[in-house]
Subunit: 308 residues, 4 copies
């Protein structure tokens, strides 16, 4: 089944292919200029730092539904081993096996393709078992630091969390932007809070996964108009689930990652940040959220920190 006309129409409007050259692999991250970073640094007023990552551990986010996207299996490879003989200094070492998108993470542009193509019109076949993503992998992102803006949709709609299946609309984003008291600008990273992660923090992994509030098919045009550099949210699927249009699965993924070349973040814990922003009335900050530089990976865990 080909993607419907509705999708094609939006895709045509938000497409960024070629905008930063035919060889570009980082898309809207190009919008984070030195000037944007200087502005971002000026958002640091109190020096308070708020971490946005979930702990990486067994018994994390995953329910087993997506094969291979496994919660971290952390193992010790040595424990207090006196490497150089009895009585010497002792070392402990460890290793991990995990799905790169198991917890708080960024999707690389190569994470999704449609109609056989990745961002910038590259063939989907550049992703291989042997080399991973030959184009648009997360390792091409050298740094990701910019101004962050919390778009606190749950707060502006007066709820702890949006209902499962509730689409976050452009109108919601307008309202949250108004609450934030700032205009979202080119190069900003937008953090969209639905409150859904409270379900996970309350211990209900299944309920967290589905049904879930999330971004509407109509929001990519909003982000494109603002020229944001990246968008992250506090849900598993990022976009609303079940989807708005029957049979049209993951349209926001396809629009962001393939058409726009815009990085998406999932499973970000925005609760402490929401409280802090609510208290101060300031919703902008320096956001430091560089992914781990896995060569050829289609995603990466990230430990984002907001500096207020």
């Amino acid at each position: 089944m080909p993607l419907p006309e509705e999708f094609r129409e939006i895709a045509g409007r938000v497409n960024n292919w070629g905008r930063w050259g035919a060889d570009d692999e980082i898309g809207t991250l190009n919008l984070i200029t030195d000037g944007v970073v200087r502005e971002a640094a000026s958002c640091v007023r109190t020096g308070r730092r708020i971490p946005l990552a979930l702990p990486l551990r067994r018994g994390g986010v995953q329910t087993g539904l997506i094969p291979g996207r496994v919660d971290p299996l952390h193992v010790m490879t040595q424990i207090n081993r006196e490497v150089f003989g009895p009585g010497t200094v002792a070392c402990s070492d460890d290793a991990v096996t995990m799905g790169l998108q198991a917890a708080t993470h960024w999707d690389a542009l190569a994470h999704v393709s449609h109609s056989g193509l990745l961002y910038n019109g590259r063939p989907a076949g550049t992703v291989t078992a042997h080399d991973g993503a030959g184009f648009g992998g997360i390792g091409t992102v050298r740094h990701l630091v910019s101004r962050g803006v919390l778009l606190d949709v749950a707060r502006v709609r007066g709820v702890d969390r949006l209902d499962g299946g509730r689409a976050v609309t452009p109108e919601d984003l307008d309202a949250a932007e108004e609450l934030a008291g700032t205009r979202v600008r080119a190069g900003d990273v937008a953090l969209v809070r639905t409150g859904q992660i409270r379900v996970l923090l309350g211990g209900d992994r299944e309920g967290y996964a589905y049904p879930s509030p999330g971004l509407s098919l109509r929001t990519p045009r909003w982000f494109h108009a603002r020229d944001v550099a990246a968008v992250a949210s506090d849900t598993l699927a990022f976009e609303v689930f079940p989807p708005e249009v029957a049979g049209l699965w993951l349209p926001v993924h396809a629009l962001h990652l393939v058409e726009m070349g815009l990085l998406q973040g999932q499973n970000w814990n925005l609760e402490e940040l929401s409280t802090a922003c609510g208290e101060t009335g300031r919703y902008t900050f320096l956001l430091s959220a560089t992914p781990e530089p896995f060569t050829g990976a289609t995603g990466s865990p990230v430990a984002p920190v907001a500096l207020l």
Copy 2:
């Protein structure tokens, strides 16, 4: 063989046990106050961002000498899979197995014990196969952002890299501090450049590992006097290898991690940063280097970024 008197004497002078309470698990990171972070943010002048991590990939840093500290094995778990049926959006997913200290990383305080004890006098037995580090694990570090200072010892000594086996002394640090034109302050993160990573970048893993320049047994007192929050360097072993005192292996590890509660970073690529600082004459910056929050881990990969 018990640790020698020389070690005991230094340990007594730099010990921080109890300084931040009996339950403290993060040691000198307590020195990064909101004020320090505000100062750090003011170091951002141009907005330039310099990444300090090595790529995470097969064929990385490890030679196989340390069992279990394996280079990342990155694997695809799905490739352009049309999850919801033919013609739908296609997803690629991946997973990784790796030693947590395989590449650019932080040692957690729990990484090393001596005489049966960890930092703050906790028993080494709190590290177990089942739970990992029950005390002083990397997951207790919620954020690590501060002022960074590059102590460019190779540059100040007029070489591309210090020779293998050359100890970096307090006098070297004094000279590098003078070159930096700033006094290292409480809460700063010191980045000590030896140039040794050029050997690795040139393709010689074995030569990178050994022999290596690195910190002298005498430097922990220097860092303690300045009250730095953490120290990272561009070598595999962090301290000079082979060691300065016959039979006294890893004394700097033991002094930093156990006695002082000071995080150590290894395999940081400081080459691009050195060039930038050399050009501008400014050696201070905002350093964002939060580890991935692995619960109970004795180390974590990190993707540090310097904002100049």
Copy 3:
């Protein structure tokens, strides 16, 4: 809480420490002599081969209850890669991460200790994070082929499967032995069928795990009297769960692995074998069940085959 007198009393009766020398690491497997194997070979009448292993795959046996005992995560590391250039022969390769006791497996003698000791009185501390089991690891078992005897308790009790929590008693084993029409002999491998694995095959992992029928605390004396070389069964926990004596957990494990030095097999699928034996009235066969020779491992997957 020390182990109760009831346990100590049985332990004293079945203990095999020193029986095969102070350095012995394979316990009752010593009972499989060349003569036993010749007898076993003579059991092959029809040439029919029946596999007893569950498939190794995602979505296998594990529920996540035992951290680290993860179902196989099978990943492709290359797919139809023309390694030597376009048009050449193409190769596919793969890798796996799994708990060694995740599916059909043998427990090594080192799997369990009590009172600080392993089989043959060795200290439990010989198991380390760095080297695994320094004594009694599965890698010390070079081969495991013998006469197998199916003790079909479910069949002799007239049920498809024994109820959850039903202990298999010496009297059950007597009855099953009578049904088998043979006396269990020194060096035999006893396969005890409860039918419990039908719950798993029916799709109910949780119900398979608990509550479960399994061997009673009283059966080690029966196996000791017969001098069997090993025992395997078709349940997750091997012994009855919940246990017969309040607070006395895993007594059969401790008696078999520590006191007797007797290997245990779990999650063996005995259904097809049961049908075949029921049809022919012959319950003995050549059993080939050599574990994978993981050095220092406390268990290993096994693909047992019965030759009838």
Copy 4:
């Protein structure tokens, strides 16, 4: 570059597609009938068992040349953990990450394709990152027990091991068959000894890998004429390396796995078996070599045992 005419000509002669039906996934293993197994059992004369697997451990066979084909990384996930409280029975558990073809293993039929096709003419595209081998995976092999015949080419040629680069020819196989004093029959598993594994056992992994003696391009016709069920050898690459015809890489793999549907075994340690057969003058035995049933895998570790 298309495969040369020489290859095509042999392929036409040995092709077994359709021989066991269009849906067959196990190829020549169909030749192991119940009658063959009865005959195999009659080869057990002394009851002696000889293991043919290398230990599974760090520091095994792999040199790092084939990415992803990693030596076993064995880790403890719990060590003497008193799961049910202090004083209770203590358990140790472990897990492993490894390339399925890292050590002593079977190649599944799906391991190799050429010209876009697998065995039985199935499309190579049935191998996917998500599901692994959808056709001809190792999990379709339910058991592998048959008569084994040692073809001791090194012995019959009067050397400890054949030189690196020396092709094993049909004439060598004839001579070894004569030494064995038996005619290789339909359903037999042929074990071809070159002695090359002595290089590995002597500690030289690189020298073991390359150059290597191995099967000539001309031997598949010999195995086809005998209708063997499978062939295993004591080298890394199975076939001679470097190859006999410039630019024709892995022709034996393609003929065996794709054209004939014949399983190949690599890295089998045939040294102890060679000694035993040399002493007794008997080169036939019951061979038990069932792979681990990994669903969708293109290979599997195996712990083969010869019963003499």
